[in-house]
Amino acid sequence: MLSEIITPELFASAVRLATPIALAAIGASICERSGIVNIAMEGLMLVAAFFGVITTLFTGSTWLGVLGAVAGSLVFAALHAWSSINLRSDQVISGTAINILALGVTGFLMETIFGHPGTTDSVDRLDPVFNFPVGGEGPLATIWLWIDTVFLSYTPIVYLGIFFAIFLTWALYRTRWGLRLRALGEHPRAADTVGVSVLRGRWVAVLISGLMAGLAGANLTLEQVGSFTENMTNGRGFIALAANIFGRWIPGGAYLASLLFGFADALQLKLQLFSDVINIPPQFFLMLPYVLTVLVLAGVVGRALAPAALGKPYKVKG
C-alpha cells in the first residue's frame, strides 16, 4: 500500500495544494513586515477566486480572468490599506469587515448573476506550462517520470508562487526597498525621521499582499477547480497567516511552511481513497490541515519574532 501512497503524484499534488496558501502567506509576510496585520487574506482570496471566474466567463479568456482576479483582490486590499493606514482603524477589525464583506459581495453577485446560490458555471482552466512526453520502461524512465511530475507538471501560477518566494526574499534582504520595508515594521518613527514615507511604503506592502491573494484566488478557481463555490477558500487565508508565522515572516520561509500544509492536505486526500483499508471517518482527514496549523503554532513562539510595530497605527506628525 505504501508504494501506492508515496507516488510522484502525491508530491506534485502537495505543491499544487500548497500554492494558494503559499501565495497568501508570501503576501502576508510582506504586509506584516511593513507593520500592517492582514487577516483579510481569506476575503481577498475569495474575491479573487470569484472575479477570476466571472471575468473568464464574460471575456472567454482565462488569462484575462487572472487579471480580473488580481484587480478584484487589489480593490479590497486598497480598502484595507485606506482604513488601516490612512484612517488608522484597528487592523484586525478592518480585516474582519473585509472578510465578511467578501462573503457578502461574492454571494450577492453570484445569486444576482447566476440566479442561484452555490457554484458558478465552469470555465476553461490554465494548462500546464510544459508538456514533456513520459512513459517507457526501466529505471531511467521512472526517474524521468518523478522529475517531470514533481518539477515540470505545473500550471503557470504555481511557478509564479515559487518565483515570488525567491524574488521577494531577495528583495526583502538585498534591496533598499526591502530594508526600508523592514524598518517600517520595526520602527516607523525612525524610518519617517530619515525620510522614508511610512504611508506610501505601507500602501505598497498591502497592495503586494493584494496581488498575492489575487494570484492565490486565481490559482484556486482558474487552475485547480475551474468554477467558484461560495466560501470556497475554507480557512486557507487563516492557514496562510499561520504559515507566515511558521516561516518567520520571510517569503521563502512562508513558502516552505505552506508546503507542509500542502503535503498534509495531499496526504489526507490520498488516504481517503484507502478508506476501506484504513477505517477512519473522512472528517478526521478533513481536520488534518487545521490540526496541523494548531500544532505548528504551538511549536513556535510567535511573539518574539513578529515585527515590533505590527498592528500599531502610525500617525504622521504634521
Binding site: 487577516i39 480598502l79 482604513s83 484612517l87 488608522r88 482603524s89 484597528d90 484586525v92 477589525i93 478592518s94 474582519t96 469587515a97 473585509i98 472578510n99 465578511i100 464583506l101 467578501a102 462573503l103 457578502g104 459581495v105 454571494g107 450577492f108 453570484m110 445569486e111 444576482t112 446560490p117 480557512g235 487563516f238 492557514i239 497567516l241 499561520a242 508565522i245 471517518p281 472528517q283 478526521f284 478533513l286 481536520m287 487545521y290 490540526v291 496549523t293 494548531v294 503554532l297 504551538a298 513556535v300 513562539v301 510567535g302 511573539r303 518574539a304
Partner: protein, 387 residues
C-alpha cells in the same frame, strides 16, 4: 471607578477645583470631551445609516428597488407576532455570541472562533439533553445549559493556553479550533450519535431538555417560534455587565485589555486573566449552541448554526462591547436575518446583501474616523449655513 464615572467627575462643573472651573482652556477641554463622547455614542447609529445607504446603492446597481427591498425586509422582521417572534428567535443566539466576542474584546482578545465553541455547546446540549430524560425540567434544563457552557469553555481553553503561554495569536488558533469542532460535530451526527434513518442528525430531545416557547408561557403574545432563551440572553447580558463593572475578575479583564504591561506591574496575572477571559467567552458562545439546540431544533445536525458565531463579531463591535448594547445590536441583526428571506422572496434581492450590510457596519464602526470626519463635515457645513 469605571471610565464613565471618571468622565462624569471630570465633566462635573461643580467639582471642587477652585480657580480652574471658569478658565477658558478648561471650558474648551470640557466642550471637546462632551463632543467626543457624543460622537462615540452616535458612531454605531451613523454606521448603520451609512451601511443602509451603501446597501441601497448596491441594490440599485443590481437593478433592484431598494425601497421595496427594505420594506419587504421590515415587514418580514416586524410585520406581526410571527415575524417578531422570528426576529427574537434569531436574536437569541446572537446575544450570546455577541456577549462572547464582547467579553473577549474587553480583555483584549479577539475570539473569532466563537462559531466552533457554539458547535461544541450544541453538541454537549444534544448529548446531555438525551441523558437527562426523565428528570424534572427544573433540574434537567439547567444541567443541559451548564454542560453546554462547560463544553464551549473547554473548546476555548486550548487557544487560551496557547495564547497565555506561547503567545500564539488567538485569531488563528480559535479559527482553527472552529474548523476542527465543526468536523467533529459532522462526524458525530453522521456516525456515533446519528439517529436511525437517512438524515445525519441526533434523536429528538425529550421535553425535559427543551426550552419552552414564549407563547407557551405567555399565550397572549400570539403564535410564534420565539423561545424563552431570549429571556436567558437578556439575563446573561445584565450578568456580564455586572461582572465587568463590579467584580474583581471583570476589573482584571478590562485592565489587561486596556494595558497588559501596566496590569502585570500592578500585580494582575496577565496569563491567568487571558485564560479565564477566553474561557468565559467560550462558555457564552457554548450557551448560544445550547439555546439553538434546546429552543429551536431540539436536536443536533451539521448545519444547525447559520454563522451565529461570526455575526456575533458584528454584534459586539456595533455594541462597542457594551453588554447591554449587545442586546440592541443582536435585535438589529436578528431583524436583518429574519427579514432577509422575505426580501429575497418579495423583492427578488439576494439575502446575501445582509452579509454586505454586516461587513460595512463592522468596517465603519472600526474606522471611527470616517464617521467623525462625516460629522465634522456636516457640522462645519451647518455652521457655514448659519453664518
Amino acid at each position: 471607578m469605571s471610565d464613565a464615572d471618571k468622565r462624569a467627575t471630570k465633566a462635573d462643573p461643580g467639582s471642587p477645583q477652585p480657580g480652574q472651573a471658569d478658565s477658558p482652556e478648561k471650558r474648551f477641554a470640557l466642550e471637546q470631551e462632551r463632543r467626543q463622547r457624543a460622537i462615540r455614542i452616535a458612531t454605531p447609529f451613523i454606521s448603520v445609516g451609512i451601511a443602509i445607504v451603501v446597501g441601497s446603492i448596491i441594490m440599485l446597481m443590481a437593478g433592484k428597488d431598494p425601497i421595496a427591498g427594505y420594506s419587504a425586509m421590515f415587514s418580514g422582521a416586524f410585520g406581526g407576532p410571527r415575524q417578531i417572534g422570528e426576529t427574537l428567535l434569531r436574536a437569541t443566539p446572537l446575544i450570546f455570541t455577541g456577549l462572547a466576542v464582547a467579553y473577549g474584546f474587553r480583555a483584549g482578545l479577539f475570539n473569532i472562533g466563537a462559531e466552533g465553541q457554539l458547535f461544541l455547546g450544541g453538541l454537549a446540549a444534544a448529548f446531555v439533553g438525551l441523558k437527562v430524560a426523565g428528570l424534572p425540567w427544573i433540574v434537567s434544563a439547567p444541567l443541559v445549559i451548564i454542560s453546554a457552557a462547560a463544553a464551549g469553555a473547554a473548546w476555548a481553553f486550548g487557544p487560551a493556553i496557547m495564547k497565555a503561554k506561547l503567545g500564539a495569536h488567538e485569531v488563528i488558533t480559535t479559527m482553527m479550533f472552529s474548523f476542527i469542532g465543526r468536523y467533529l460535530v459532522s462526524w458525530l451526527v453522521t456516525g456515533p450519535l446519528k439517529s436511525p434513518g437517512l438524515i445525519p442528525q441526533t434523536v429528538q430531545l425529550p421535553p425535559e431538555s427543551r426550552l419552552p416557547r414564549v407563547s407557551d408561557v405567555f399565550p397572549f403574545v400570539g403564535a410564534n417560534r420565539a423561545h424563552i432563551g431570549i429571556i436567558l440572553g437578556i439575563v446573561a447580558a445584565i450578568f456580564i455587565w455586572w461582572v465587568l463593572k463590579y467584580t474583581v475578575m471583570g476589573y482584571e479583564a478590562r485592565a489587561v485589555g486596556f494595558n497588559p504591561w501596566a496590569s502585570e506591574n500592578g500585580g494582575i496575572s496577565v496569563s491567568s486573566t487571558i485564560v479565564k477571559s477566553l474561557c468565559i467567552s467560550g462558555a457564552l458562545a457554548g450557551l448560544a449552541g445550547a439555546v439553538e439546540v434546546m429552543g429551536v431544533h431540539w436536536r443536533l445536525f451539521d448545519q444547525f448554526s447559520s454563522g451565529f458565531g461570526f455575526t456575533g463579531i458584528a454584534v459586539a463591535l456595533l455594541a462597542k462591547n457594551n453588554p447591554i448594547g449587545v442586546i440592541a445590536a443582536a435585535l438589529l441583526f436578528g431583524a436583518l436575518s429574519a427579514g432577509a428571506g422575505t426580501m429575497q422572496l418579495e423583492a427578488g434581492i439576494s439575502q446575501k446583501v445582509v452579509f454586505i450590510l454586516q461587513g460595512l457596519i463592522i468596517f465603519l464602526v472600526g474606522a471611527e474616523t470616517i464617521v467623525t470626519w462625516a460629522i465634522s463635515k456636516m457640522s462645519r457645513r451647518g455652521a457655514a449655513d448659519a453664518v
